[in-house]
Point group: C2
Chain length 365, copies 2
Amino acid sequence: MDDRIHEHAEVLVDWSARIEEGDDVVVITDEGAHDLAVAVGEAVGKRNANLLTVYNSGEVERAYLRAHDGEFDENPAPELAMYENADVVLRLAGSTNTTAQADVPGETKQAYNKARMDIRKARLDADWVSTLHPTRAYAQQAGMAYEEYQDFVYSAVLRDWKSLADEMATMKTLLDEGSEVRIVKEDTDLTMSVEERTAVNSCATVGYDSHNLPSGEVFTAPYATEGEVFFDVPMTLQGNRIQNVHLTFEGGEVVDFSAETGEDELADILDTDEGARKLGELGIGMNRGIDRFTDSILFDEKMGDTVHLAVGRAYDACLPEGETGNESAVHIDMITDMSEESRMEVDGEVVQRNGTFRWEDGFEE
Amino acid sequence: MDDRIHEHAEVLVDWSARIEEGDDVVVITDEGAHDLAVAVGEAVGKRNANLLTVYNSGEVERAYLRAHDGEFDENPAPELAMYENADVVLRLAGSTNTTAQADVPGETKQAYNKARMDIRKARLDADWVSTLHPTRAYAQQAGMAYEEYQDFVYSAVLRDWKSLADEMATMKTLLDEGSEVRIVKEDTDLTMSVEERTAVNSCATVGYDSHNLPSGEVFTAPYATEGEVFFDVPMTLQGNRIQNVHLTFEGGEVVDFSAETGEDELADILDTDEGARKLGELGIGMNRGIDRFTDSILFDEKMGDTVHLAVGRAYDACLPEGETGNESAVHIDMITDMSEESRMEVDGEVVQRNGTFRWEDGFEE
């Protein structure tokens, strides 16, 4: 087995999930994540924790959902009890066909998920971490060769997380103590307030309340946005590619927009509700192991030297106690490259220029 | 997908497990049983029951067991709670390597199983059924080509179970009402008492308290065995082939024995304890879909036109209320071919001759 699979399992079990002796661990494995499941089994055994492995097959679920009449029982007891008794839940994504459920009606899937809200809550109440095993299906979705994609994934996952967490803590402090963030690049000069908002250091460990491996972003909930912004990294939303989006903000709201590709889809998003025209998130991608767009939000939004902004719902963790932030039915991330001819300022002070942070060698004031 | 996989799933869910709307079903799938898991997912969905699929990978378990220090926690809560809340448990055997755990120390495996006795009990307290999906690994173990083995498995599984159950009920009645069974063939003339003993109609459905698919045997707990018997179907015990066994009984006990292959292993078995020299089971194989030895007890002992006898422990289900039958740490089945030059008598009346039962066409009194 590729050594990197064992290293991936060690990072997952140790840094991300912090598994200790006697922990009750539930591992949810996709049909294509077998090798990672074996390595995780070994890593869980080495810590003398307890292991139960659930099979999360897109094909089994498709067959089940299509055959069912659609009136699902609420929160079936075996699965609910399993998660309620788990200390740790690890999700190993490893699809063998990312469109395995293409012919399951959307309403069936929604009804199924809706009937399982308590199961979902029980799962999220455990120390849960979601990660991804590189499969040929994901490589294909990313438009990459299989071995090329493996290199990509392990480069993103096998980081010096402790060191990255420290660096991200510096970024968090800047945002927490700052009032206004300004982003300047081609077709972009955008300001937003982050006053009284708290940034989250998302560094791929439950120790920091971060539940994805890889991670590597610092995010907060901005408001009072003014100016224009250009997003040059593409995205796929419900099967539609949206590319080269341009937004203009006045008084915190989008007042003008365009997109080279997918402008209709963009219009639909912005028209969802009132909150869909306001920002819900400012995220700063700091994982330099992720150096290209692969059409997977798990990776894309953490890409080093990028910034993403989401229109729509804000995360509670970023808001002052008891305060509600921007509310919306949507939360759509859009990414812009900050590696060249660009700068980010906090309260007028440049903190990143052309992809280099102020605490790094080569930074130009 | 091979239609027979869907038929297999239908027999399993319908005849064997009797799954109904709203049942909480846990499916345990081996790594090589994916296709059957998909078909079972569909069949469970069609009945509007609830589905949770557990991944039973020999390789994941091997990695876990070898890494663990061997002091296992007793009955980890997530798995125990899962089975305690299950109405139905289906086990889909589908190994990709029947020796996947060859390098796991026996004492580790024993300690693991011992720490999980309550989990095992909870699983067996549900309506559980164990079946097998044909894999290349099983084909290889049986010494067969893959497609040949698939034909073999489906021929055993896809029976007219209702009709076979009726036929087996006739056999059960003969044994229940009879006092003495006699088996006569080459090197064999054996009598045993079945007085006051109750035969079990094992016809692959929880409705008859039968938990294997395929099944197809009627068995009881004989005693007071006298005479000699020759077993011409081979068996493998802990990796050792044992073949052409000859036993001589006096006063219910083995007083002499020989084996063409594996005589030392046979001696070890018979010397285990006092009960290891007495019979614990007389089983009559009635599944004519199973027409050859494949080195798998799930199939071998149900082979049509065979009889098997086990030295060692008797099953409680065959004994009068409150009575204990033969007790032993072992229960070792040995099979003899009854298709030619042979007969079985109950109280002096021939009930099977040369593989034909008395209620069948062609039977010669």
